[in-house]
């Protein structure tokens, strides 16, 4: 390789290394901010509060590893059906009432739970392998 080639190659290396570092750092940051729940068996249960048909504080984020037990409670001021997609678990909730979900995290991926009639997403459930 002549000097010109070397220079270009060196340039590419620098760019790629920079991109790799950037991504590793930024995705590391993402992970920690998304983890709101370690999800061990017997851990305190997360409550999603629904006010005027919307989740208080935005869409709740829950992260588990495969095999752990997913547990959360929905306190709602409206009557609707809570649908945990992917796992396809549906539970009715009355206005002023609450429902509890308790199931093993068997499917990997990112799934949403929504108030079915309102089409309002209330939870993003992440299950890591």
């Amino acid at each position: 390789m002549n000097s010109n080639t070397t220079r270009v190659v060196a340039g590419i290396v620098v760019v790629v290394v920079a991109v790799v570092l950037f991504a590793v750092l930024s995705s590391g940051g993402d992970d920690s901010s998304k983890t709101t729940q370690s999800g061990k068996n017997g851990s305190p249960i997360t409550t999603i509060e629904i006010k005027h048909g919307k989740p208080v504080g935005g869409i709740a984020q829950l992260t588990y590893n495969e095999g752990e037990q997913v547990r959360f409670k929905v306190d709602s001021d409206v009557s609707d059906e809570v649908h945990m997609h992917g796992y396809d678990i549906m539970k009715d909730v009355k206005a002023g009432g609450s429902v509890t979900f308790d199931f093993p995290a068997t499917l990997e991926g990112v799934f949403e739970a929504e108030l079915e009639d309102r089409k309002e997403q209330i939870l993003e459930l992440t299950v890591n392998p």
């Binding site: 590419i12 760019v15 790629v16 991504a23 590793v24 590391g28 991926g109 089409k119």
Partner: protein, 465 residues
């Protein structure tokens, strides 16, 4: 002021997990090593300019290309399109329970590229608009005793109508559909209306310019699926089916103006769909809030914000390609810029395909279970029909593990990267003849490819929509 963003996909009950950082780093490193290797191990004579076409058995070829088979395939295409429109208009408005959306945006829109890359242009015989156009043309010839006359297609337009159409299709799905005010996605009714409007438009264009001419230049689906079929190992030549060197047919694909725009539109729209809930999410939310504060209604603001960023993706991807082309034009002995711009467009087709696989492979596998399960038995989603006894089948999300999906995603990007580099090196040898100058020009394309591949990896590592 802050608003709730009605972000959600029409069909997807599940999203992919982001590619973990270590795999991202490995993928990017692999790309780098492969690229180094490509720099040093270039060949000195073009190998892909000739597709080395060899005919398949005459009987097989004649049977597969016979008129009855053509009519049958065309009729199947028309029937499926007609049925999708019917289901969209008369079926349930729940996007995931209606045959129309999954069939059009998953089975056809993703399925044809996947199959075309292996088998060649499989869409052509099933193209419903081509079938109708040919039937009408044939009937006209029979009655009038002469073939119908057409306007001259303005050659300068080339494939631009298809490039813009491609952006429009994706826009309909991911921008218009994702922002219906509530998180329902594109409604089956809107999808059916769009299909009807497009059918009238494209049949009118076929009447004006001729069926084959329009399929080559403006018919979105023919051009888009046809582009991917150029990578495939099978093709028809002089009415005969044959095998060819994979990738090779693509070297002659970009002969029309606007071809580069089609590939760029493909890469850009996949990037946007991947980035809108990940890398670009914050920027989109900010733009949306800013637009909403100016008094626009929420749905309009969101669509506008998404549209702006989709346009930015198109311009950005185009710009990266143009920088590569500009760079190459500075190498001594380079052909004119116009020629270069068109001459390397096909080298991005493998990248476009890799993006498609990386972003939609899992969606395709999962959603096809719905397509051939409950959507086939209960296409209108009325919960009262069960044609094949599969109406209550669900989707088995255990079919693919997160690890399997990650490896397919990263693998697709790396393979696409290698294929793109291969085609680019080959084309450079054709233009420059001299091996040293060709290699020098390829530092530029190599940078372009590394940029696209690492960007693709980055999108996957942040989040995938």
């Amino acid at each position: 002021m802050s608003f709730f963003l009605p972000l959600a996909h029409a069909l997807v009950a599940r999203k992919d997990l982001p590619v973990p950082a270590w795999l991202f780093a490995w993928g990017a490193s692999l790309v780098l090593i492969v690229s180094f290797f490509a720099l040093s191990a270039g060949w000195r004579k073009p190998r892909f300019e000739d597709e080395k076409w060899r005919p398949l058995s005459e009987r097989f070829s004649r049977a597969l290309l016979s008129l009855p088979v053509q009519v049958l395939c065309g009729a199947a295409g028309v029937l499926l399109l007609g049925f999708s429109i019917y289901a969209g208009l008369h079926g349930t408005e729940a996007p995931d329970r209606n045959f129309a959306l999954t069939f059009i945006f998953v089975t056809a829109w993703l399925g044809f590229p996947f199959f075309s890359v292996v088998f060649g242009d499989v869409f052509r015989p099933f193209n419903p608009w081509r079938a109708v156009g040919r039937a009408v043309g044939g009937a006209f010839a029979l009655v009038a005793g002469q073939r119908s006359a057409h306007l001259r297609y303005p050659e300068r337009l080339g494939r631009w109508p298809a490039a813009i159409g491609l952006l429009a299709v994706v826009w309909l799905e991911v921008v218009y559909g994702a922002s219906g005010g509530v998180a329902v996605g594109l409604s089956p009714h809107a999808c059916a209306v769009a299909a009807l409007v497009y059918s009238f438009y494209t049949l009118a264009m076929m009447a004006l310019f001729g069926v084959e001419k329009w399929c080559e230049t403006g018919e979105i689906f023919s051009v888009y699926f046809g582009m991917f079929s150029q990578l495939g190992g099978f093709g028809v030549k002089d009415g005969r089916l044959g095998r060819r060197l994979p990738l090779a047919a693509s070297t002659h694909w970009a002969s029309l103006p606007g071809s580069a725009a089609v590939v760029i539109a493909s890469i850009a729209s996949t990037s946007f769909d991947g980035a809108q809930e990940g890398a670009l999410k914050d920027a989109i939310v900010q733009t949306f809030e800013w637009l909403a504060e100016t008094g626009l209604n929420l749905t309009t603001s969101l669509r506008l914000a998404d549209t702006i960023f989709m346009a930015i993706c198109f311009v950005g991807v185009g710009l990266v390609y143009m920088i590569g082309v500009r760079g190459m034009s500075t190498v001594r002995g380079a052909p004119p810029l116009r020629e270069l711009r068109r001459g390397f467009a096909h080298t991005l087709i493998p990248i476009a395909f890799a993006y498609l696989v990386a972003h939609y492979f899992s969606l395709f596998v999962f959603q096809e279970q719905a397509q051939f399960g409950y959507l086939l038995s209960d296409p209108l989603g009325t919960a009262t029909t069960d044609l094949f006894g599969t109406a209550s089948n669900g989707i088995d999300f255990k079919l693919l593990s997160a690890n399997a999906i990650w490896y397919v995603q990263v693998g697709a990007l790396v393979v696409g990267h290698v294929a793109g580099l291969t085609l680019a090196h080959d084309r450079a040898i054709t233009y420059w003849g001299d091996y040293r100058q060709a290699a020098r020009s390829q530092y530029w394309m190599l940078a372009v490819m590394v940029a696209f591949t690492c960007f693709g990896l980055y999108l996957l590592s942040v989040a995938n929509a």
